[in-house]
Each structure stands twice: as structure tokens, then as C-alpha cells.
Assembly symmetry: C2
Homo-oligomer: 364 residues x 2
């Protein structure tokens, strides 16, 4: 076994999920995540956890949803499983990122709605999602398999404690600040973050962070004004959308354009009122992720990028009891800030050309 | 997809488990049973069942058990899952039938003991175990993969309703009879079946039968006298045991011999008192199973064979409240009755040279 698989398992079980003796753990295993699962089971055995293994296959979901009508019940047995679980580890790894492409939207939506209590019970655990590097993900990234493995482990096997400390600086700046401004090519955008709390997403439940890899600091901005250019490509509704321009007034998108598949952007913006406002401002700080791989779990944490999401805000960024922007969608869009750019908080430059103010080479 | 896979799924869901709309179903999928699982999900979707998929891998079990100490708790989340389930479908299919060979017996035993409530909850559902034909099972049988698939589907895709009707005749003979006698080479054995109820194991929960394939009628004999020769080989504790001779007096084994690995037989017989008495007499009636494949799920149902098990009797064969032979073991041994043999119930021949009394060519 590649020693990096064992290390991935160690980070997941110890740093990310903080598994302890006696924890009731559900491990969800993708068809191609078997090797990572074996390494995780070794760690869970050592930790003295109790384990149930579920199988997460897009092909089985497809077969089931296509054959089913669209009247679903909440599955009581699945709900009972998660209500009694302390930890859920999701080890993604499929054979085809398009495995459910021909499932009708209605069936997908009806099933998701019936499963809401299950999803909520799962979110009440110390859950963490990660991905085993697979040939299917390598293909999606346009990379050879060995090359992709090197990329994935560079992103996953970081010194997370050190990164958490560095990200704490960015969190403090955002928490103390009122207005964030982003300036780069075709971009001059201001957002309010007053009263919002940034999340130091350090790939651990102890940081309210549920993805491995992670490595971003995010908050929920509002009162957005100005224009922004997203030069990192993205796949939305199965289509490649590239070079998006948005213009905001009074917090809402008033103008938009995209170099390719603009209609998809148009669809998203017309979903509901909240889809025209921002739900997230994220600062990508994982420099192990050094390129776009068409996989949002990785892309949005890329070092020297900033992402903004149209749609729903995460509760963790809001004061207790306050609701942020609401929407049925949450669509992340990414812009490269490694060159000719600056990020300001209350008029003070905190990142310029990819360098943070606490780094060597930073120019105020 | 091989059309036989779809047919296997249909038999499993409809005939075996009798799945109905709204049933909470747990499907356990082996690493190589993915294709069968996809066919089963299509059926479960059509039936309108609710599904949770678990992953059953010997390699994960091995990793977990070897790393764990031997102090296990009952996993509450797993117990909750099965307590809320109506149906459990187990789709076996591994990559290596020796996947757990190096797990220490103590860990295996301690885990099994802690999991007893889970196992009992599973047995309280409409559970059915089947196997997807795999290269690993083909290898164990000493067969090419295509050849093995033909064999497996001949065993699984039977006219089960017709076989159930035929087996009902054998059940009636055993239920009405007092004494069974088996005569063949080196064999003249009598057993009492008075007061016991035979199970018509027709691969359906409606027949109290939980294996697919099945195709045997079995009961719990006692007061065994005489000698018996088992000429079908078997793998016990990982070793090939061949040509076993047993001699019974007053229901107990008083003499034994085996052509190979006699020590394994000796170990089994000394497990406990019940290990020296019979717990099962089974009549194999599935003629789709026409050869030994070193897989007990199939072997014991082979047409024109009789099997006897040392050890534990199944409750389903006993009058309500009565306990049969008790033992920590249940070890099936098989004898070929296709030639030069006869099976009698109360002195009347019911099977001679593999022909049953209701069949053409039967000689009383």
C-alpha cells in the first residue's frame, strides 16, 4: 500500500474527525475507495471505534432512482443509523463522475427532499468528507493517474496545525473588519462583513470544518457593490462555464456575462431572489492545491484564489439566531489573485499579488 | 449486463425476500457484487422500497479486527439500523475467499460475541443471503470464470415454485415418519425424526428459507445409530478434509476416521458434547447444483446428495419451546447418493440411486 494512503487515513481519523474509543462511526465507501477504506479501518480498529460501512455508488443510486417513481418516504432505518452515530466519514471514489447524468431532476429532487431528516441527522455528527484519488478524478482534471495522486496528496497531507494557525490570522482580520474590497483585472468589488464570523476551515471538526482537504477562510458578505471577474473555469450543471463577469448594485447582480455557456449562469441567477446575492466570500489558502482540477472540493481551497458564492449562506458564519442569504442554490465561482491584485479590509491591504501581509515579500 | 444478473435480482427481490412497497431494506454488497447490486436496485426502485447499502469486505474486516484489541462493544448504530429494517439482502462477492485468514481467532470470536444482538436483529428481518458469481469463487471451485457463471446461474435460476412443490413431498414423508435409514457403501445409519418438523427450504422467506440458491429439505435427527461414509470433500478450518467415516452409538460419535486432515475432524468432535451428535439431516434436491464447488452455500443443496451436520440443530425444525442439540459448531458433511444407495423412511424406500419415489425410473 502507498504509504500516503495510510497517512491520509491518519489525518482523517485523528486530525479531521477526532475519533475516540467507543465512537459509533459510519464509514461511507465509494467503489474505488477500497484501499483508503482499508487504511481507515486499521486506524479505527486502533482507536477502538465501532464501525458500520455503507457503500456509496452513483451507479446504484442511478438504477434505483430511475426505476422508482417520485414518491419517496424518509427511510426510517437509515435515519436510525445516523441518529445513533457519533462520526460519519465519507470516502468518495467513483468510476465515472457522470454516473448519475441521466437521472431525471424530479426523482433526484423528490429523493433529496424525503431524505432531509437523514441528511440533518448526518450533519449533527462529527462528519468529514474526503476523496480517494481515482482514475475518474484524474480524467476529470485532465491529468495522468500518478500525476493526479501526487497532486491530491500534496493537497491532503499538509501540516494542518500550522495552516490552521496561519488561517487564524485571516479569520481575525475578517472578524475585526467591516468592509472587504477586492481589486484586480476587471474587478473592483466591495462587500460588508460587519457582524459576521469567519470560519477557519482547517479540515477538522474542531474548527467547524468538514472537508479534507480544506484550507480556506470564509464568511458571509452582504451589501455587495461593484464588478468582479472570475477567470478560473468551473463546471455548472454539467457544462463548462468560463470567464464570468458580474456587476452588483445594492447587493444584487444587475448585469452578467460569460465567455461560454452564459445560459447556465442565467438559469442559476433566476432560481430565486437569493441566487442574485452573495452567500459566501472565501479566501483559498491551501497552496498544496496549485491548479484547477474541475472538482469543487479542491478548487475552492486553491492557494492564491478568492471565491464568491451566489446563493445560500452558511449558518456557521452568522450570529446565533440570525439568518443570512437564503436560496436553493450555492454556486462557487473562483478568481485568481496570484498576480496584479489586492484584497483590502477596511482600506488596509491584507493580500497583494498572492502574498499575505504576514509573509515575506509582501508589499503594502 | 448479462441478462442472468437481472433475473437473479428478480428472483431475489420477488421470490426470496417478497419485497413490498415501503419496506425498509438493507442491501449488503461485496466488493465484486456491484453488478448484481445495480440489478437489485432497479428492482427495489420498481418495488418502491427504501434502501440503505452496506459494504461487506473481508479486507476491511481484517484491517479492523487485527488493529483492534479484543474488547468490543455492541455497535448501537448498527443495532438501530437492523432493528428498523424489514428486509436484509446480502449480496456476497469478494476477491479472495481467504481474505480474513490471518485474523486471530480471539478477535474474531470477541467481535462475534459483541455483535450477537446485531445478528439477532438481522435474523428478525426477512433476510436472504446470495452470492454473485466471482472469479474468486470460480478459483475456489477449480473452474474457469465463464464456466462458473453457467454453474451458478443453473443453481440460482430455477423454477422455485415447482421445486417447492416437489420438496413438499419429501417434507411430508419426513414429518409423518419416525425413523430414517441411509444405506450405501460403508454406510448403514438410522436416525429418529419423530416429533421433528422438516423445513422445505425453497429459497424464500415464505418457506423459512434464507439462502439463494437453496433446494434442500432438512430436519433435526437424534438417536443416531450405525456408520456413515462422506465421500464429497469439504474445507474445514481452511483444510481439505476427505473421505470421512463416522460410527454412532446412542446418538454419539464413538469412532471416526478421515483420509486427509483427520486432526481437524478430531478438533471439531472435541469442541463440546453436542459436537459429537447430529444437528441436521438434509436432503439435497437442487439438481442445478451438479458438482462440488467447495462452497457450502451451494454444496449442501446439490441434487442427489444427503448431508449430515455435527453440532447445533436449527430451531425451525423443533416443536415450539423445545431445544434440540446444542453446540458451538455446525459442520456439514456430504455423501453422494446418486448410485448404489437408498434412503428409507419407516422401512419404505423413498429414494434409490438418486431417484425419488415420485420420479420416473424409481425402483422400490
Amino acid at each position: 500500500m502507498d504509504e500516503r494512503i495510510r497517512e491520509h487515513a491518519r489525518v482523517l481519523v485523528e486530525w479531521s474527525a477526532r475519533v475516540e474509543r467507543g465512537d459509533d462511526v459510519v464509514v461511507s465507501v465509494g467503489p474505488e475507495a477500497h484501499e483508503l477504506a482499508a487504511a481507515v479501518y486499521e486506524r479505527l480498529g486502533e482507536a477502538g471505534a465501532n464501525v458500520v460501512t455503507t457503500y456509496d455508488s452513483g451507479e446504484l443510486t442511478r438504477a434505483y432512482l430511475r426505476a422508482h417513481g417520485d414518491e419517496f418516504e424518509t427511510p426510517d432505518h437509515e435515519l436510525a443509523l445516523y441518529e445513533h452515530a457519533d462520526v460519519v466519514l465519507s470516502l468518495g471514489g467513483g468510476r465515472n463522475t457522470s454516473a448519475t447524468a441521466d437521472v431525471p431532476g424530479e426523482a433526484r429532487q423528490a429523493y433529496a427532499t424525503a431524505s432531509t431528516p437523514v441528511r440533518e441527522a448526518r450533519m449533527d455528527t462529527r462528519w468529514v468528507s474526503t476523496q480517494h484519488p481515482t482514475r475518474s478524478l484524474a480524467q476529470q482534471a485532465g491529468m495522468a493517474y500518478g500525476e493526479y495522486c501526487d497532486f491530491a496528496y500534496a493537497a491532503i497531507l499538509r501540516d494542518w496545525a500550522a495552516l490552521a494557525d496561519e488561517m487564524a490570522r485571516m479569520k481575525e482580520l475578517l472578524d475585526d473588519g467591516s468592509e472587504v474590497r477586492l481589486v484586480k483585472e476587471d474587478t473592483d468589488l466591495t462587500m460588508s462583513v460587519e457582524g459576521r464570523t469567519a470560519v477557519n476551515s482547517a479540515a477538522s471538526v474542531d474548527y467547524d470544518s468538514h472537508n479534507l482537504p480544506s484550507g480556506e477562510v470564509f464568511t458571509a458578505p452582504y451589501a455587495t457593490e461593484g464588478k468582479v471577474f472570475f477567470d478560473v473555469p468551473m463546471t455548472l450543471h454539467g457544462k463548462r462555464v468560463q470567464d464570468v463577469h458580474l456587476t452588483f448594485e445594492d447587493g444584487e447582480v444587475v448585469d452578467y456575462a460569460a465567455e461560454s455557456n452564459e445560459a447556465v449562469l442565467s438559469d442559476i441567477l433566476s432560481t430565486d431572489e437569493g441566487a442574485r446575492r452573495l452567500g459566501e466570500l472565501g479566501i483559498g489558502m491551501n497552496r498544496g492545491i496549485d491548479r484547477f482540477t474541475d472538482n469543487i472540493l479542491f478548487d475552492e481551497k486553491m492557494g492564491d484564489t478568492v471565491h464568491l458564492a451566489l446563493g445560500r449562506a452558511y449558518d456557521s458564519t452568522l450570529p446565533e439566531g440570525e439568518t443570512g442569504n437564503e436560496s436553493a442554490v450555492h454556486v462557487d465561482m473562483i478568481t485568481d489573485v496570484s498576480e496584479d491584485s489586492r484584497l483590502e479590509v477596511d482600506g488596509e491591504v491584507v493580500q497583494r499579488n498572492g502574498r499575505f501581509r504576514w509573509e515575506d515579500g509582501f508589499e503594502a
